[in-house]
Protein backbone atom coordinates (compact mmCIF):
# COMPACT_ATOMS: atom_id res chain seq x y z
CA UNK A 1 0.00 0.00 0.00
CA UNK A 2 2.93 2.28 0.79
CA UNK A 3 4.11 2.04 -2.80
CA UNK A 4 0.60 2.13 -4.27
CA UNK A 5 0.68 5.92 -4.43
CA UNK A 6 4.11 6.03 -6.04
CA UNK A 7 3.14 3.46 -8.65
CA UNK A 8 0.02 5.42 -9.61
CA UNK A 9 2.09 8.62 -9.59
CA UNK A 10 4.54 7.18 -12.12
CA UNK A 11 1.74 5.90 -14.35
CA UNK A 12 -0.14 9.22 -14.38
CA UNK A 13 3.03 11.26 -14.93
CA UNK A 14 4.21 9.02 -17.78
CA UNK A 15 0.83 9.31 -19.42
CA UNK A 16 0.86 13.12 -19.15
CA UNK A 17 4.42 13.34 -20.37
CA UNK A 18 3.70 11.14 -23.38
CA UNK A 19 0.98 13.59 -24.44
CA UNK A 20 3.25 16.59 -23.81
CA UNK A 21 6.20 15.16 -25.74
CA UNK A 22 4.14 13.87 -28.66
CA UNK A 23 2.26 17.14 -28.94
CA UNK A 24 2.37 17.19 -32.70
CA UNK A 25 0.65 13.83 -33.10
CA UNK A 26 -1.98 14.66 -30.47
CA UNK A 27 -2.66 18.13 -31.83
CA UNK A 28 -5.22 16.79 -34.28
CA UNK A 29 -6.99 14.74 -31.60
CA UNK A 30 -10.02 16.88 -31.08
CA UNK A 31 -11.13 15.14 -27.86
CA UNK A 32 -7.98 16.43 -26.15
CA UNK A 33 -8.39 20.00 -27.38
CA UNK A 34 -10.95 22.72 -26.84
CA UNK A 35 -12.77 21.66 -30.02
CA UNK A 36 -14.03 18.82 -27.80
CA UNK A 37 -17.84 19.06 -27.85
CA UNK A 38 -18.29 19.62 -24.10
CA UNK A 39 -15.41 22.04 -23.65
CA UNK A 40 -16.35 24.04 -26.73
CA UNK A 41 -20.02 24.31 -25.75
CA UNK A 42 -18.99 25.77 -22.39
CA UNK A 43 -16.54 28.13 -24.06
CA UNK A 44 -19.33 29.12 -26.42
CA UNK A 45 -21.52 30.24 -23.50
CA UNK A 46 -18.59 32.15 -22.05
CA UNK A 47 -17.84 33.72 -25.42
CA UNK A 48 -21.38 34.94 -25.89
CA UNK A 49 -21.33 36.62 -22.49
CA UNK A 50 -17.92 38.19 -23.00
CA UNK A 51 -18.76 39.38 -26.51
CA UNK A 52 -21.45 41.69 -25.14
CA UNK A 53 -18.74 43.79 -23.56
CA UNK A 54 -17.02 44.26 -26.92
CA UNK A 55 -20.10 45.01 -29.04
CA UNK A 56 -19.17 48.64 -29.66
CA UNK A 57 -15.71 47.79 -30.93
CA UNK A 58 -17.02 44.90 -32.99
CA UNK A 59 -19.64 47.08 -34.63
CA UNK A 60 -17.07 49.67 -35.53
CA UNK A 61 -14.82 47.02 -37.00
CA UNK A 62 -17.65 45.54 -39.05
CA UNK A 63 -18.75 48.96 -40.24
CA UNK A 64 -15.26 49.89 -41.40
CA UNK A 65 -14.82 46.52 -43.08
CA UNK A 66 -18.16 47.03 -44.79
CA UNK A 67 -17.05 50.40 -46.06
CA UNK A 68 -13.81 49.01 -47.45
CA UNK A 69 -15.64 46.16 -49.19
CA UNK A 70 -18.20 48.55 -50.65
CA UNK A 71 -15.40 50.69 -52.02
CA UNK A 72 -13.84 47.67 -53.65
CA UNK A 73 -17.15 46.64 -55.19
CA UNK A 74 -17.60 50.02 -56.84
CA UNK A 75 -13.98 50.04 -57.93
CA UNK A 76 -14.22 46.59 -59.48
CA UNK A 77 -17.56 47.38 -61.10
CA UNK A 78 -15.92 50.39 -62.70
CA UNK A 79 -13.11 48.26 -64.00
CA UNK A 80 -15.54 45.66 -65.31
CA UNK A 81 -17.48 48.29 -67.24
CA UNK A 82 -14.24 49.61 -68.68
CA UNK A 83 -13.14 46.14 -69.77
CA UNK A 84 -16.55 45.39 -71.24
CA UNK A 85 -16.40 48.59 -73.27
CA UNK A 86 -12.93 47.88 -74.60
CA UNK A 87 -13.80 44.35 -75.66
CA UNK A 88 -17.22 45.21 -77.07
CA UNK A 89 -19.08 43.21 -74.47
CA UNK A 90 -17.66 39.86 -75.50
CA UNK A 91 -15.39 39.43 -72.54
CA UNK A 92 -16.17 36.76 -70.01
CA UNK A 93 -14.07 37.00 -66.91
CA UNK A 94 -13.97 33.72 -65.08
CA UNK A 95 -14.01 34.69 -61.43
CA UNK A 96 -11.27 33.12 -59.30
CA UNK A 97 -13.31 31.04 -56.92
CA UNK A 98 -10.46 28.89 -55.75
CA UNK A 99 -10.67 30.44 -52.28
CA UNK A 100 -13.84 30.47 -50.22
CA UNK A 101 -14.27 32.24 -46.88
CA UNK A 102 -16.23 30.93 -43.86
CA UNK A 103 -16.97 33.49 -41.16
CA UNK A 104 -16.65 32.23 -37.56
CA UNK A 105 -16.85 33.65 -34.07
CA UNK A 106 -13.94 33.44 -31.63
CA UNK A 107 -15.09 31.66 -28.46
CA UNK A 108 -11.70 31.06 -26.86
CA UNK A 109 -8.44 32.94 -27.31
CA UNK A 110 -5.37 32.78 -25.12
CA UNK A 111 -2.43 35.17 -25.48
CA UNK A 112 -0.67 34.60 -22.17
CA UNK A 113 1.18 31.41 -23.09
CA UNK A 114 4.08 30.43 -25.28
CA UNK A 115 1.74 28.20 -27.29
CA UNK A 116 -1.45 30.11 -27.84
CA UNK A 117 -4.57 28.71 -29.49
CA UNK A 118 -7.90 30.14 -30.60
CA UNK A 119 -11.23 28.26 -30.52
CA UNK A 120 -13.92 28.99 -33.14
CA UNK A 121 -17.65 28.18 -33.19
CA UNK A 122 -17.62 26.55 -36.65
CA UNK A 123 -16.33 23.10 -37.49
CA UNK A 124 -16.17 20.16 -39.87
CA UNK A 125 -19.84 20.49 -40.82
CA UNK A 126 -19.11 24.01 -42.06
CA UNK A 127 -16.37 22.65 -44.30
CA UNK A 128 -13.41 23.46 -42.07
CA UNK A 129 -10.44 21.09 -42.14
CA UNK A 130 -7.02 21.06 -40.46
CA UNK A 131 -4.37 23.26 -42.10
CA UNK A 132 -6.75 25.88 -43.37
CA UNK A 133 -5.74 29.51 -42.94
CA UNK A 134 -7.53 31.93 -40.61
CA UNK A 135 -7.60 35.72 -41.05
CA UNK A 136 -9.42 38.65 -39.48
CA UNK A 137 -10.27 41.86 -41.29
CA UNK A 138 -6.77 43.21 -40.72
CA UNK A 139 -4.52 40.24 -41.46
CA UNK A 140 -3.39 36.69 -40.79
CA UNK A 141 -4.45 35.14 -37.46
CA UNK A 142 -3.32 31.50 -37.61
CA UNK A 143 -3.76 28.00 -39.00
CA UNK A 144 -6.38 25.36 -38.10
CA UNK A 145 -4.98 22.41 -36.11
CA UNK A 146 -7.96 20.44 -34.77
CA UNK A 147 -11.59 20.21 -35.92
CA UNK A 148 -14.70 18.63 -34.41
CA UNK A 149 -18.18 18.69 -35.94
CA UNK A 150 -19.06 22.17 -34.69
CA UNK A 151 -15.82 23.64 -33.39
CA UNK A 152 -12.29 24.44 -34.52
CA UNK A 153 -8.96 24.99 -32.77
CA UNK A 154 -6.55 27.38 -34.47
CA UNK A 155 -2.83 27.67 -33.78
CA UNK A 156 -2.38 31.39 -33.32
CA UNK A 157 0.54 33.27 -34.91
CA UNK A 158 1.39 33.89 -31.23
CA UNK A 159 2.63 30.32 -30.85
CA UNK A 160 6.27 29.34 -30.57
CA UNK A 161 5.56 26.44 -32.98
CA UNK A 162 3.94 28.57 -35.65
CA UNK A 163 5.92 29.31 -38.80
CA UNK A 164 4.49 31.30 -41.68
CA UNK A 165 6.01 31.81 -45.10
CA UNK A 166 5.83 35.53 -45.95
CA UNK A 167 7.29 38.06 -48.33
CA UNK A 168 8.04 41.76 -48.36
CA UNK A 169 5.46 43.34 -50.63
CA UNK A 170 7.81 45.93 -52.13
CA UNK A 171 10.72 43.66 -53.02
CA UNK A 172 9.24 40.12 -53.02
CA UNK A 173 11.94 38.92 -50.60
CA UNK A 174 10.86 35.76 -48.76
CA UNK A 175 11.24 34.86 -45.13
CA UNK A 176 9.52 32.89 -42.42
CA UNK A 177 7.64 34.55 -39.60
CA UNK A 178 7.96 33.23 -36.03
CA UNK A 179 6.80 34.62 -32.72
CA UNK A 180 9.35 35.60 -30.09
CA UNK A 181 7.18 34.41 -27.20
CA UNK A 182 7.07 37.72 -25.37
CA UNK A 183 5.23 40.57 -27.00
CA UNK A 184 1.73 39.91 -28.36
CA UNK A 185 2.06 42.65 -31.00
CA UNK A 186 5.40 41.69 -32.54
CA UNK A 187 7.07 38.75 -34.32
CA UNK A 188 10.39 38.13 -36.10
CA UNK A 189 10.99 37.55 -39.79
CA UNK A 190 13.78 34.99 -40.24
CA UNK A 191 15.87 33.76 -43.13
CA UNK A 192 15.88 36.97 -45.16
CA UNK A 193 19.39 37.10 -46.72
CA UNK A 194 21.53 40.19 -46.19
CA UNK A 195 21.69 41.05 -49.87
CA UNK A 196 17.96 41.79 -49.80
CA UNK A 197 16.70 45.31 -49.25
CA UNK A 198 14.39 45.51 -46.23
CA UNK A 199 13.36 48.86 -44.79
CA UNK A 200 11.33 50.00 -41.82
CA UNK A 201 7.62 50.41 -42.72
CA UNK A 202 7.77 47.78 -45.46
CA UNK A 203 4.57 45.74 -45.61
CA UNK A 204 4.74 41.99 -45.05
CA UNK A 205 2.24 39.78 -46.91
CA UNK A 206 1.60 36.05 -47.28
CA UNK A 207 3.70 34.39 -49.96
CA UNK A 208 1.00 32.06 -51.31
CA UNK A 209 3.49 29.16 -51.46
CA UNK A 210 1.58 26.73 -49.31
CA UNK A 211 -1.97 27.45 -50.56
CA UNK A 212 -3.01 27.73 -46.91
CA UNK A 213 -3.27 31.45 -47.54
CA UNK A 214 -3.78 33.10 -50.90
CA UNK A 215 -0.94 35.41 -51.86
CA UNK A 216 -1.02 38.97 -50.60
CA UNK A 217 -2.89 38.87 -47.27
CA UNK A 218 -1.35 41.44 -44.90
CA UNK A 219 0.68 40.00 -42.03
CA UNK A 220 2.54 42.93 -40.53
CA UNK A 221 4.67 46.04 -40.89
CA UNK A 222 8.47 46.02 -40.47
CA UNK A 223 9.42 48.12 -37.44
CA UNK A 224 13.08 47.19 -37.13
CA UNK A 225 15.55 45.91 -39.70
CA UNK A 226 19.23 45.25 -38.98
CA UNK A 227 21.98 43.39 -40.79
CA UNK A 228 23.38 41.13 -38.10
CA UNK A 229 27.15 40.75 -38.05
CA UNK A 230 27.21 37.13 -36.89
CA UNK A 231 24.91 35.54 -39.48
CA UNK A 232 24.18 36.08 -43.14
CA UNK A 233 20.58 37.03 -42.43
CA UNK A 234 18.71 40.13 -41.44
CA UNK A 235 17.32 40.68 -37.95
CA UNK A 236 13.78 41.90 -38.64
CA UNK A 237 11.01 42.79 -36.18
CA UNK A 238 7.45 42.94 -37.50
CA UNK A 239 4.39 44.53 -35.93
CA UNK A 240 1.49 42.14 -36.60
CA UNK A 241 -1.56 43.68 -38.25
CA UNK A 242 -4.11 41.39 -36.60
CA UNK A 243 -5.01 42.47 -33.08
CA UNK A 244 -4.99 39.30 -30.98
CA UNK A 245 -6.25 41.02 -27.84
CA UNK A 246 -9.62 41.91 -29.36
CA UNK A 247 -10.28 39.08 -31.85
CA UNK A 248 -14.06 38.55 -32.19
CA UNK A 249 -14.88 37.47 -35.73
CA UNK A 250 -12.51 35.73 -38.13
CA UNK A 251 -12.65 34.14 -41.57
CA UNK A 252 -11.45 30.62 -42.30
CA UNK A 253 -10.05 30.28 -45.82
CA UNK A 254 -10.96 27.16 -47.76
CA UNK A 255 -8.81 26.46 -50.76
CA UNK A 256 -11.03 24.42 -53.07
CA UNK A 257 -8.18 22.68 -54.87
CA UNK A 258 -6.09 21.86 -51.79
CA UNK A 259 -6.33 18.08 -52.22
CA UNK A 260 -5.42 18.33 -55.87
CA UNK A 261 -2.46 20.59 -55.12
CA UNK A 262 -1.20 18.22 -52.42
CA UNK A 263 -1.36 15.18 -54.70
CA UNK A 264 0.40 17.00 -57.50
CA UNK A 265 3.10 18.22 -55.13
CA UNK A 266 3.61 14.70 -53.80
CA UNK A 267 3.84 13.27 -57.30
CA UNK A 268 6.29 15.97 -58.25
CA UNK A 269 8.54 15.17 -55.32
CA UNK A 270 8.80 11.50 -56.22
Amino acid sequence: MRYGGTFLFIILESFSLIIVVNQNSFQHASFLSSSNQVAASLLNVEGSVVSYFGLVDTNQQLASENAILQNRVTQLQGRLELLKDSTHGELQIAPDQAYHYVSAKVIGNSINRLQNFITLNKGRLDGIKPEMGVVDNRGVVGIVTAVSDHFTVVMSLLNSKSQLSCKIKRTNDFGSLVWNGVDTDYANLLEVPKHADVRVNDTLITSGFSAIFPEGIPVGIVTQSQKSSSTSYYYIVVKLTANFRTLTYVNVIQYQNLEELKTVQKEGEQ
Binding site: L8, F15, S16, V21, F26, L32, S34, L43, R113, V182
Partner: protein
Protein backbone atom coordinates in the same frame (compact mmCIF):
# COMPACT_ATOMS: atom_id res chain seq x y z
CA UNK B 1 -15.22 12.17 3.47
CA UNK B 2 -18.57 12.94 5.01
CA UNK B 3 -21.34 14.34 2.82
CA UNK B 4 -20.89 17.89 4.03
CA UNK B 5 -17.16 17.88 3.47
CA UNK B 6 -17.58 16.33 0.05
CA UNK B 7 -20.07 19.02 -0.98
CA UNK B 8 -17.78 21.80 0.25
CA UNK B 9 -14.84 20.56 -1.79
CA UNK B 10 -17.01 19.87 -4.83
CA UNK B 11 -18.33 23.44 -4.79
CA UNK B 12 -14.80 24.78 -4.35
CA UNK B 13 -13.62 22.61 -7.25
CA UNK B 14 -16.32 23.85 -9.64
CA UNK B 15 -15.84 27.47 -8.57
CA UNK B 16 -12.04 27.37 -8.99
CA UNK B 17 -12.18 25.54 -12.34
CA UNK B 18 -14.64 28.01 -13.83
CA UNK B 19 -12.54 30.91 -12.53
CA UNK B 20 -9.36 29.35 -13.96
CA UNK B 21 -10.80 28.65 -17.42
CA UNK B 22 -12.85 31.83 -17.80
CA UNK B 23 -10.62 34.37 -16.09
CA UNK B 24 -7.08 33.32 -15.26
CA UNK B 25 -6.30 31.41 -18.47
CA UNK B 26 -7.62 34.32 -20.52
CA UNK B 27 -6.00 37.42 -19.06
CA UNK B 28 -5.06 39.66 -21.94
CA UNK B 29 -2.83 42.01 -20.01
CA UNK B 30 0.95 42.12 -20.62
CA UNK B 31 0.84 38.68 -22.24
CA UNK B 32 2.31 36.63 -19.40
CA UNK B 33 -0.08 37.02 -16.46
CA UNK B 34 -1.52 33.59 -15.69
CA UNK B 35 -2.00 32.83 -11.97
CA UNK B 36 -2.97 29.22 -11.20
CA UNK B 37 -5.46 29.67 -8.38
CA UNK B 38 -7.14 26.30 -9.11
CA UNK B 39 -4.35 24.57 -7.16
CA UNK B 40 -6.01 25.75 -3.95
CA UNK B 41 -8.42 22.84 -4.50
CA UNK B 42 -5.54 20.34 -4.22
CA UNK B 43 -3.86 22.26 -1.37
CA UNK B 44 -7.05 22.40 0.69
CA UNK B 45 -8.13 18.74 0.52
CA UNK B 46 -8.19 16.95 3.92
CA UNK B 47 -4.87 15.55 5.12
CA UNK B 48 -6.48 12.16 5.62
CA UNK B 49 -7.38 11.75 1.94
CA UNK B 50 -6.36 8.49 0.29
CA UNK B 51 -3.16 9.08 -1.63
CA UNK B 52 -4.32 7.38 -4.83
CA UNK B 53 -7.60 9.31 -4.76
CA UNK B 54 -5.63 12.55 -4.39
CA UNK B 55 -3.48 11.69 -7.41
CA UNK B 56 -6.49 10.77 -9.53
CA UNK B 57 -8.30 13.98 -8.56
CA UNK B 58 -5.16 15.95 -9.46
CA UNK B 59 -4.91 14.19 -12.81
CA UNK B 60 -8.58 14.86 -13.65
CA UNK B 61 -8.23 18.50 -12.64
CA UNK B 62 -5.15 18.85 -14.85
CA UNK B 63 -6.62 17.08 -17.87
CA UNK B 64 -9.79 19.22 -17.76
CA UNK B 65 -7.71 22.40 -17.72
CA UNK B 66 -5.54 20.99 -20.53
CA UNK B 67 -8.59 20.47 -22.70
CA UNK B 68 -9.77 24.04 -22.21
CA UNK B 69 -6.36 25.64 -22.61
CA UNK B 70 -5.07 23.35 -25.41
CA UNK B 71 -1.98 22.64 -23.33
CA UNK B 72 -2.03 18.86 -23.96
CA UNK B 73 -0.93 17.15 -20.73
CA UNK B 74 1.04 20.02 -19.21
CA UNK B 75 -1.50 20.93 -16.53
CA UNK B 76 -2.00 17.22 -15.79
CA UNK B 77 1.71 16.59 -15.29
CA UNK B 78 2.29 19.63 -13.09
CA UNK B 79 -0.81 19.07 -10.95
CA UNK B 80 -0.11 15.37 -10.31
CA UNK B 81 3.48 16.26 -9.40
CA UNK B 82 2.35 18.82 -6.83
CA UNK B 83 -0.27 16.42 -5.44
CA UNK B 84 2.35 13.69 -4.97
CA UNK B 85 4.64 15.94 -2.92
CA UNK B 86 1.78 17.36 -0.88
CA UNK B 87 1.78 14.80 1.93
CA UNK B 88 5.59 14.54 2.40
CA UNK B 89 5.69 18.33 2.61
CA UNK B 90 2.80 18.40 5.08
CA UNK B 91 4.67 15.90 7.29
CA UNK B 92 7.75 18.10 7.06
CA UNK B 93 6.21 21.47 7.97
CA UNK B 94 3.39 20.51 10.31
CA UNK B 95 4.35 19.77 13.97
CA UNK B 96 3.88 16.17 15.13
CA UNK B 97 1.14 16.79 17.66
CA UNK B 98 -0.96 18.51 15.04
CA UNK B 99 -0.50 15.81 12.44
CA UNK B 100 -2.01 13.07 14.58
CA UNK B 101 -5.57 14.02 13.63
CA UNK B 102 -6.99 14.81 10.21
CA UNK B 103 -7.18 18.45 9.15
CA UNK B 104 -7.75 20.55 6.04
CA UNK B 105 -4.66 22.69 5.39
CA UNK B 106 -5.58 26.37 5.75
CA UNK B 107 -4.49 29.46 7.66
CA UNK B 108 -7.11 28.66 10.26
CA UNK B 109 -5.97 25.08 10.97
CA UNK B 110 -2.19 25.49 10.55
CA UNK B 111 -1.59 29.11 11.44
CA UNK B 112 -0.22 31.69 9.03
CA UNK B 113 3.56 30.86 9.04
CA UNK B 114 3.13 27.12 8.52
CA UNK B 115 0.44 27.46 5.89
CA UNK B 116 2.53 30.07 4.07
CA UNK B 117 5.52 27.71 3.96
CA UNK B 118 3.35 24.81 2.75
CA UNK B 119 1.45 26.81 0.11
CA UNK B 120 4.45 28.78 -1.15
CA UNK B 121 6.58 25.69 -1.84
CA UNK B 122 3.84 23.86 -3.75
CA UNK B 123 2.67 26.94 -5.64
CA UNK B 124 6.17 27.86 -6.84
CA UNK B 125 6.75 24.21 -7.79
CA UNK B 126 3.52 24.15 -9.82
CA UNK B 127 4.24 27.35 -11.74
CA UNK B 128 7.84 26.40 -12.42
CA UNK B 129 6.80 22.99 -13.77
CA UNK B 130 3.97 24.26 -15.93
CA UNK B 131 5.88 27.15 -17.46
CA UNK B 132 8.97 24.98 -18.07
CA UNK B 133 6.89 22.32 -19.82
CA UNK B 134 5.30 25.03 -21.92
CA UNK B 135 8.75 26.22 -22.97
CA UNK B 136 9.69 22.60 -23.72
CA UNK B 137 11.37 23.02 -27.09
CA UNK B 138 11.82 26.73 -26.80
CA UNK B 139 14.76 27.87 -24.74
CA UNK B 140 13.68 30.97 -22.86
CA UNK B 141 14.67 30.37 -19.24
CA UNK B 142 14.52 34.08 -18.41
CA UNK B 143 10.88 34.15 -19.49
CA UNK B 144 10.05 30.97 -17.52
CA UNK B 145 11.61 32.49 -14.38
CA UNK B 146 9.83 35.83 -14.75
CA UNK B 147 6.50 34.07 -15.35
CA UNK B 148 7.06 31.77 -12.37
CA UNK B 149 7.96 34.58 -9.96
CA UNK B 150 5.18 36.96 -11.04
CA UNK B 151 2.40 34.36 -11.22
CA UNK B 152 3.41 32.36 -8.11
CA UNK B 153 3.26 35.57 -6.10
CA UNK B 154 -0.13 36.38 -7.57
CA UNK B 155 -1.53 32.91 -6.86
CA UNK B 156 -0.17 32.88 -3.31
CA UNK B 157 -1.57 36.34 -2.67
CA UNK B 158 -4.98 35.24 -3.96
CA UNK B 159 -5.06 32.06 -1.84
CA UNK B 160 -4.02 33.95 1.30
CA UNK B 161 -6.43 36.83 0.79
CA UNK B 162 -9.40 34.54 0.09
CA UNK B 163 -8.70 32.62 3.32
CA UNK B 164 -8.16 35.83 5.29
CA UNK B 165 -11.41 37.32 4.07
CA UNK B 166 -13.29 34.15 5.02
CA UNK B 167 -11.85 34.07 8.54
Amino acid sequence: MSGNLFLKHLIRFVFLMVLQVVVFDNIRFLGYINPLLYIWFILGLPSSINRSLLLILAFLTGIILDVFANTLGMYAFATVFVAYFRSPLLKLVVPRDHASSAFEPSIKTLGFPIFLKYAAVLIVLLHLLLFSLEAFSFVRYDLVLVKTIVNSSLTLLLVLSIQKSKA
